[in-house]
């Protein structure tokens, strides 16, 4: 660990606390790992200037106490408040490579998709793809991030906390008398979510029965007549007016009973973000599906 020579008492104490907390497993550098693009990457030292190009990675870094290492984030990183003040580095399809290089980062976290990894690597910048996609990966990638930024203990704590919060909700929903069927629309093409996607897992844990079978894949394009036939009790992700206007949908149960809705502002973001606020998303979703359990 690097220590500032002009350290105030406060800072020394803080450093000491961190040092104690991570006593169990302080990362030793150089650290070599295989990232989500299947590349072997070596970190020479603990990264001090990090650019995160994934909103979920930005959130996780902040949640494990590495927020002050961030020097830039992608356009869609909007949580916590702190990251919104950081320089914006573009999106998945239009990253601002020059701006990223200009920040002189010693680590850039990227998605599996998009193509910036190669050009950044050629520019001599360490790039690691950390891209949680499934429910379990949300936890495992949090631990990976903890290892990368030398916050393993914090990452373990975060994971434990998340699992505990999720379990609290699950205890309620697991024993619900009736589990309503639900259709969740990712976009109006329409694409939906399969039960093995992380959103699908959350939907199930919220006490709903997803009408999409696992055999259709994680993010399947759905034939509208399939949805009508399944006639779910909840239609989530489409506002009632749009849903009712679709051919043949006006007579569906969810629409007649007022249970077709766009997700409330905020929930639509966190529900689709595989990050530390997953328990929060689950709680809110569970309240929509089982309001009787949260009185």
């Amino acid at each position: 660990m690097r220590e500032g020579g002009q350290g105030a008492t406060m800072k020394s104490i803080l450093t000491l606390t961190f040092a104690l907390a991570s006593l169990a497993g302080a990362t030793t550098y150089p650290l070599t790992l295989t990232d989500d693009l299947g590349r072997k990457v070596t970190l020479k030292a603990e990264p001090q200037r990090i650019v995160s190009m994934l909103p979920s990675d930005s959130e996780t870094l902040c949640a494990i106490g590495a927020c002050d290492k961030l020097v830039g984030v992608d356009d869609y990183s909007d949580y916590p408040q702190q990251v919104t003040k950081l320089p914006k580095m573009g999106g998945l399809y239009d990253p601002k490579i020059e701006a990223i290089v200009g920040q002189r980062p010693d680590l850039v976290l990227v998605s599996k998709y998009g193509k910036i990894a190669e050009s950044l690597t050629q520019a001599g910048i360490t790039v690691i793809a950390v891209n949680p996609e499934t429910y379990e990966e949300v936890f495992s990638k949090t631990l990976v991030l903890g290892k990368i930024v030398n916050r393993e203990a914090q990452a373990k704590n975060l994971v434990t906390g998340m699992r505990r919060d999720i379990a609290k909700i699950e205890i309620l929903t697991k024993n619900a008398v009736k589990k309503p069927t639900a259709y969740y629309e990712v976009d109006p093409t329409p694409y939906s979510i399969g039960p093995n996607s992380f959103m699908g897992v959350l939907l199930t844990k919220a006490g709903a029965r997803n009408i999409i079978p696992a055999s259709m894949g994680d993010f399947p394009k759905v034939d509208p007549e399939f949805i009508v036939k399944a006639n779910p009790q909840f239609i989530l992700g489409v506002d009632a007016k749009t849903a009712a206007a679709r051919p043949g949908w006006s007579s569906m149960t969810a629409i007649k009973s007022g249970k077709a809705m766009a997700l409330p502002k905020g929930l639509d973001t966190i529900f689709s973000r595989p990050g530390p606020r997953m328990p929060l998303a689950l709680a809110q979703m569970a309240k929509i599906i089982h309001p009787e359990l949260f009185k």
Binding site: P188, K221, G248
Partner: protein
């Protein structure tokens, strides 16, 4: 042969030396279209027994008069599948007739309905509407306006005095098309969260085609194709060359202008809700020409039949297989077929 049958088509004004094969083959195409409608309505991702499909059609029809509410499978058959099939027929027929007319009016076998920037204009209009989250009803309007606008730009670029030479028209269309496509891509990148929906649109999808969409598209298809069918004889004459056609009394530039506008109306209508479906408009006229001859009075109506049938079958394949979108199916099947056609033409 030339007597009673002749009277009935008096207004088409000249005999096509019909081989005795034309009528049986036309009948075959009608059967193909009919079978497409039957299978398209009967099959889908939800299994419904044939007798239930028939019952659903009957109850659906009856509900138009009684106002009775449909339930379950009846809804699927009457409100989802049937309009989707009808939309498929309308779009397939429109694209094929426009393709045939464009190939004729530019005497270019590679012409398709999307020539002159019609498709890229429509796509930009629709993308605009989707990204700006306008109501669904405004998507086709926006698509149409931009399609006609881009055709107007193409025409003014290609204009040479009072004439529109085909080569200049096609080149201008390519230029306008690529500029508009770039604009569409820029828009897609701006509205990333809707990117997939826009992408789905540019690949062509019959997904949510309801009766309301069908009724919106119908006037465009009817007007556009109707005008083109009426111009069949003039298009035939144009095949002799611009000068010869003019010497025979056909106002060639006027004909070209009317065909372009009529085809743009029909194409933009077809593209508006359904997106850009590739190859149908290019290939169907070639298939008909191969089997039935090149006279536009046969080519255009039979292209409508075959195009309608093929698109419904392609959509059926799309929604019951992982290919998932009708535009993907037509392009996957159409590309190789077109190559085969090119090789074949060379051999003749």
């Amino acid at each position: 042969m030339r007597s009673d049958a002749q009277q009935s088509e008096a207004l088409t004004a000249a005999p096509v030396a019909r081989s005795r094969w034309v009528w049986p083959r036309t009948f075959l195409l009608l059967l193909l279209l009919l079978s497409a409608i039957v299978f398209g309505t009967g099959l889908g991702s939800v299994n419904i027994a044939p007798e239930d499909v028939l019952g659903a059609l009957w109850r659906g029809l009856a509900s138009q008069f009684t106002g009775a509410e449909l339930i379950s499978n009846d809804v699927i058959v009457w409100q989802i599948r049937l309009p989707r099939v009808v939309m498929g027929v309308l779009v397939g027929a429109s694209l094929s007739v426009c393709g045939g007319a464009f190939q004729g009016v530019f005497r270019n076998p590679l012409a398709d309905p999307y020539l002159l920037g019609v498709a890229s204009g429509s796509a930009l209009g629709a993308t605009l509407a989707i990204v700006l989250d306008w109501p669904r009803a405004l998507i086709p309007v926006s698509a149409l306006v931009l399609a006609l606008l881009s055709v107007a730009v193409t025409l003014s670029l290609a204009r040479e005095g009072r004439r529109f030479p085909p080569t200049r028209l096609i080149l201008a269309g390519v230029v306008v098309g690529s500029v508009l496509s770039a604009a569409t891509t820029a828009l897609i990148l701006r509205g990333e969260d809707r990117a997939r929906q826009v992408l789905a649109y540019t690949l062509g999808d019959l997904g949510f085609s309801g009766w309301r969409d069908v009724l919106t598209v119908l006037p465009y298809a009817a007007l556009g194709c109707g005008v083109l069918l009426l111009l069949a004889r003039a298009l035939d004459t144009l095949q002799l060359g611009d000068l010869t056609a003019r010497s025979l009394g056909v106002p060639v530039e006027r004909l070209r202008l009317i065909v372009v506008i009529a085809a743009s109306v029909a194409t933009a209508g077809a593209v508006a809700y359904v997106g850009i479906i590739g190859f149908i408009g290019l290939i169907v006229p070639h298939m008909v020409r191969l089997a039935f001859g090149a006279s536009h009075r046969i080519l255009l109506p039979l292209s409508a039949l075959l195009g309608g049938a093929l698109l419904v079958y392609a959509d059926l394949l799309a929604r019951t297989s992982p290919l998932s979108q009708v535009g993907i199916v037509t392009t996957l099947l159409g590309g190789p077929f077109f190559l085969w056609l090119l090789r074949r033409e060379k051999e003749i």
